[in-house]
Symmetry: C2
Subunit: 508 residues, 2 copies
């Protein structure tokens, strides 16, 4: 634990069991690591992701052998796609007990590898401090990633060497002049060109540099569909989001002859559809990478802007904030209400899925805020990630803009919000369906789904009472069924400290 | 799906996504496979386990790529330990899209292997029927196990060959005469001897044979600590359970010179503790296996009874059912109340953990019932397994005797109970703590846990309102705080059809 503190780690998101008791005790023997309990492991891993997205520093998770870890895999998958630094501490049986194949024995490494960029099983207590220092370093990348350290229980209870010094900071690589020159040529050429932003490019520095690049070169600027973290609103430049459905993305990219990737990957379809290619950019387009994942992307963007002769500060047009909606509570009014009321400095965790489609268009004109999104498609990230963001930024209001179906996967997050008094307003978009699957049934050519198929996309029989669920976990909740009621309830909830939940029942 | 029906599969526990849409549509194109939605994958896998424990036949699960599957791993770990047949259908990206490394791409086989005795990725639509027939056959063993079939989406939507015939039934092996003779010699010898029952031995035939063996040989009979399924009560013979804590189990086994295993493994400690051996039987004791896991255990037990000259029907002593308790609601009164009121033919899913400790002593005198228990230590099995048992046996009352901490992992099960109108009474043992961890802190030598350690075992701040959670998921609930109130509420709940929840707040 002293090694963790020395490496700048100050939070442990825990759902421990018997094999982690010595590590649990260690949390009190050292000052500086705050322990926060999640009553389901997906809460812990998703919160670690949210915390690190906001701080840039990994949190520890503390999880119970293979099955406990497995419950956290889905959100680690999202963290992996977000390139978030996370350090998992996973207890295991004592080394001499593993051969007994006791009931909880399993192949933890096989479970950990698909979501981890670094996996190691501790061999002794003595080397545990250096193992942890290596795990923290591995998590920091660049780029960031999930490090999983499996710790047999005897390695926890036996005497360790003194704390290990933090492993030397890896640091980001220097931009490649040739890549910058090539990007410059591509973007200022006569042929239609675009800059596609992703990852770390979506912070203030990156966005301002991109605005300068656009001004100087006349190129289009897009950003990836599901950013880990996007700064938005206020006087920040705002760019077009690459659409989710491949046909729409292909249409957006079709005119391009040049595509410069800045922290984004060469775009691919989220799923493989019949008669739709995996790659979305035109085959004939030239695709250039401004910086590889290990390179300092912001430095590269600023160098590109300078090379293009962009002004130091790009002018930003005034934007009128959208008004609060009235009347029926459709998806449009829902997005409008969130954008109209969200306070300065809010962190908006957007896992609203189909219910959030209207929001993005309004959000650019909202006050300055941070948006977090579902990076890996493993639903159930929103509420845990909001927990982590709130732990990271206690002085900022967190809005969990949350689809109802997705929210159920990790609904236990509400309890941690209540226990820690986190400043989260959860807006549950209650369309009472897996709406995206109703769309996808149609896309799969199933024009008239049968009774069972429809039932598998339906959450209305019986209706899920989110206000009762919130109450069950200790969070005050309200249900609203009109835009006016949402505006009133959302305004009130934002004015209160501590967690609040609003079930927004969506019409049609 | 026609292959599934032909192989005797009639239930699909589903939480599908985009990559499973063609399989979803197929559920309506064929009669005979009932689709049941779980709003979290752990509900589906735990229910498949419960269903197969009661029917002996595998259910299908239908899960969404690696992260969706991962959410079901913990309960598949329990199914693996229970040797339950389960067939997972896991969708994946179309074969030609996998190389694009789209956001939801992951190494599903690496995730599946630790819990599966059979893993296969379908290569084409044409071979999918025979792949499924192989999966069903693999799940049936002997012994039973988890079969995971990964199905890329194009293998779902393209044309398949006609349905495959069920793969030839494997069948149980013939008992080994030498093993029976050796067991007979061991048990009727003068040295202290015991028969340890587990697995399939714990059905009526096995128990009656064991009673005959005990009568004829004078041996002790024990059963494993966490049986997948135990028949109990009524006029069934009842045997001593091997204790959970290793020191107690070692004490029980210490006098033995001979230990004959019948469906149980050579007992090992659940966890590795300092100065406690992994193996629990005395080192000097001779341990014999009556039948290997592939052999017909019941035939072996009956052959052993016959060889020992046991009477065909062992006499069973009359047992007085315990009276309903009154007064304070401690762990004793809780177990007494369940045992006093449970109806003839109940299925009791016991994941009550420390709150269930008193129950077993009362349950032998209850009317005939089936007990299911947590086989793999991956908590959160109880409510899903109750779902599966109720789907398997609609004419029997299911009692989910459930610890509160464990119940939270898969609390979403309540919604499936409500949707399907399942006849489950959930008795939530609300001690508002991870009580076992408070015990384990002490066992780990942490005499005075610090503030953070205590907080990680505490579920009382804030209190979880289980009646509200039940309401949230559509299940009627009541809270009781005395033995009298529990008896009244439990009696009423048992008399009602459909799901009911009782939050039993445990004093001290």
């Amino acid at each position: 634990m002293r090694t963790a503190v020395a490496a700048g780690v100050d939070l442990c998101l825990a759902n421990p069991g018997t094999t982690e008791m010595p590590l649990v005790a260690a949390l009190d023997s050292v000052r500086g690591v705050r322990a926060v309990l999640g009553v389901f492991e997906g809460v812990c891993t998703g919160a670690a992701d949210g915390y690190a997205r906001m701080t840039g520093r990994p949190a520890l998770t503390l999880l119970h052998l293979g099955p406990g870890f497995a419950n956290g895999i889905a959100n680690l998958h999202n963290a992996r796609r977000a390139q978030t630094p996370v350090v998992n501490l996973i207890g295991d049986h004592t080394t001499w007990h593993l051969g007994a194949d006791a009931p909880l024995t399993s192949d933890i490494e096989s479970l950990a590898r698909p979501v981890s960029s670094w996996v190691h099983t501790a061999k002794s207590a003595r080397s545990l401090p250096s193992d942890l220092a290596s795990a923290v370093r591995a998590s920091l990348g660049p780029p960031g990633g999930v490090a999983s350290l499996i710790v047999p229980q005897d390695c926890q209870w036996e005497a360790a060497d003194g704390p290990a010094a933090p492993a030397s900071a890896p640091g980001w690589g220097t931009p490649d002049e040739a890549a910058i020159a090539a990007a410059s040529t591509a973007l200022r050429g006569a042929a239609p060109a675009a800059l596609l932003l992703g990852g770390r490019a979506l912070c203030e520095r990156g966005l301002r540099a991109a605005a300068g690049i656009a001004n100087a070169s006349g190129c289009r600027v897009l950003h990836e569909t599901f950013p880990a973290r996007l700064e938005r609103g206020g006087d920040l430049p705002s760019f077009e989001r690459l659409p989710y459905f491949p046909e729409q993305a292909i249409e957006v990219l079709a005119p391009l002859h040049q595509l410069v990737l800045a922290g984004a990957r060469d775009p691919v379809s989220f799923f493989g559809y019949r008669d739709v290619p995996s790659r979305l950019a035109p085959e004939a387009a030239q695709v250039l990478e401004l910086a590889d994942p290990e390179t300092d992307l912001l430095q590269a963007l600023e160098a590109l802007a300078e090379r293009l002769g962009a002004p130091a500060e790009a002018p930003v047009a005034d934007r009128d904030r959208v008004a609060a909606p009235t009347g029926e509570l459709g998806v449009g009014a829902l997005g409008q209400a969130v954008a109209a009321l969200q306070p300065e400095g809010a962190i908006v965790m957007d896992e609203a899925a189909t219910s959030g489609l209207a929001y993005a268009a309004f959000a650019a004109a909202a006050p300055r805020h941070t948006m977090l999104s579902l990076t890996g498609g493993a639903i159930g990230q929103g509420l845990p990630c909001a927990v982590g963001a709130a732990l990271a930024c206690p002085d900022r209001k967190v809005i969990a803009f949350q689809a109802d179906g997705s929210g159920l996967y990790t609904v236990q997050s509400l309890w941690t919000m209540a226990r820690e008094g986190l400043d989260v307003v959860a807006v549950i978009c209650a369309n009472r369906a897996y709406r995206i699957l109703q769309v996808e049934l149609g896309r799969a050519g199933i024009a008239e789904p049968g009774r069972q198929a429809l039932a598998l996309t339906d959450l209305a029989h019986p209706t899920i009472d989110w206000v009762a669920l919130a109450q069950g976990f200790g969070v005050p909740g309200r249900r609203v069924e009109s835009a006016d009621a949402l505006v009133e309830a959302f305004g009130r909830a934002l004015a209160e400290p501590g967690p609040q939940l609003i079930e927004a029942v969506i019409s049609a």
